[in-house]
């Protein structure tokens, strides 16, 4: 048999420019899912300070919340969560066979809506941090 030339990974992400809506949705959903599960682990770790008593818990939370960086990360978390939720809902509809023809539009809608919600929440999230 003839040997053949394998073009490798370049084909997947080397071609991101040619991705279509559904592919981007997949990439983002994947990314946000991983961030969320990562956060869940951190979250429980932070909350575990409660096992050492109320003071440790309070000082940890307050300490973290006073850092501007943490506040910004929380905005990021919100963005990630909101997108994952919205696109998750989109996917649930797709699974039910609803709105398949406008799957690209619903993806763009998720993106825009995520943007709007996040921007609107920024004041609440960063208030008092700066």
């Amino acid at each position: 048999m003839s040997q053949s030339y394998d073009r490798g990974l370049i084909e997947d992400f080397g071609r991101w420019r040619e991705f279509t809506a559904g592919m981007w949705a997949w990439v983002f959903h994947k990314f946000t899912g991983w961030v969320l599960i990562g956060y869940l682990f951190t979250h429980i770790a932070v909350l575990s300070t409660s096992l050492q008593g109320a003071e440790t818990f309070n000082s940890t939370i307050q300490g973290l919340e006073s850092l501007a960086l943490v506040r910004l990360l929380e905005v990021g978390l919100l963005a990630v969560a909101v997108f994952h939720i919205l696109n998750g809902i989109r996917l649930l509809f797709v699974d039910l066979g609803v709105g398949l023809e406008s799957q690209d539009k619903s993806f763009y809608a998720s993106l825009v809506l995520t943007g709007v919600i996040v921007v609107a929440s920024v004041p609440t999230f960063v208030s008092g941090a700066f």
Binding site: G33, L40, F41, S48, S50, F57, E74, L78, I85
Partner: protein, 120 residues
């Protein structure tokens, strides 16, 4: 002739659970975020406040369910992502074990935290 996939393992249960947990999470996660960032601002969280909330049995149960479903959803999601990338054989077995153990630890630790917070 084409090869047949002999190891019969229906993925329908996991797939369905991933959707059911997702539907449940939409509600709880939105509630959780809203509750702890908008109603009570994150910076104002205190042990006492958490305890007050946690002592409500309904809230406690919801949070534990939230934890369990989120863990399943997240861990199963990662497992799926790995299978999509074509992991097989030992790597797949290892992923199952590691993810399973991590998920279990997370749930156990989470429940311990919840109990501590509730002060039971």
């Amino acid at each position: 002739m084409a090869e047949r996939y002999s190891s019969f393992r229906s993925g329908s249960t996991a797939w369905l659970l991933q959707r059911i947990t997702a539907a449940f999470l939409v509600v709880v996660l939105a509630f959780h975020f809203f509750n702890l960032h908008f109603v009570t601002h994150a910076a104002d969280i205190e042990f006492a406040g958490s305890q007050a909330r946690m002592q409500n049995v309904g809230y406690f149960v919801t949070m534990v369910l939230f934890l369990v479903t989120a863990t399943f959803h997240g861990v199963n999601g990662i497992y799926n992502a790995l299978v999509n990338q074509g992991i097989e054989g030992n790597a797949k077995r290892a992923a199952q074990v590691v993810l399973g153990v991590a998920g279990l630890l997370l749930v156990v630790q989470g429940i311990r935290v919840a109990i501590a917070l509730a002060g039971f």
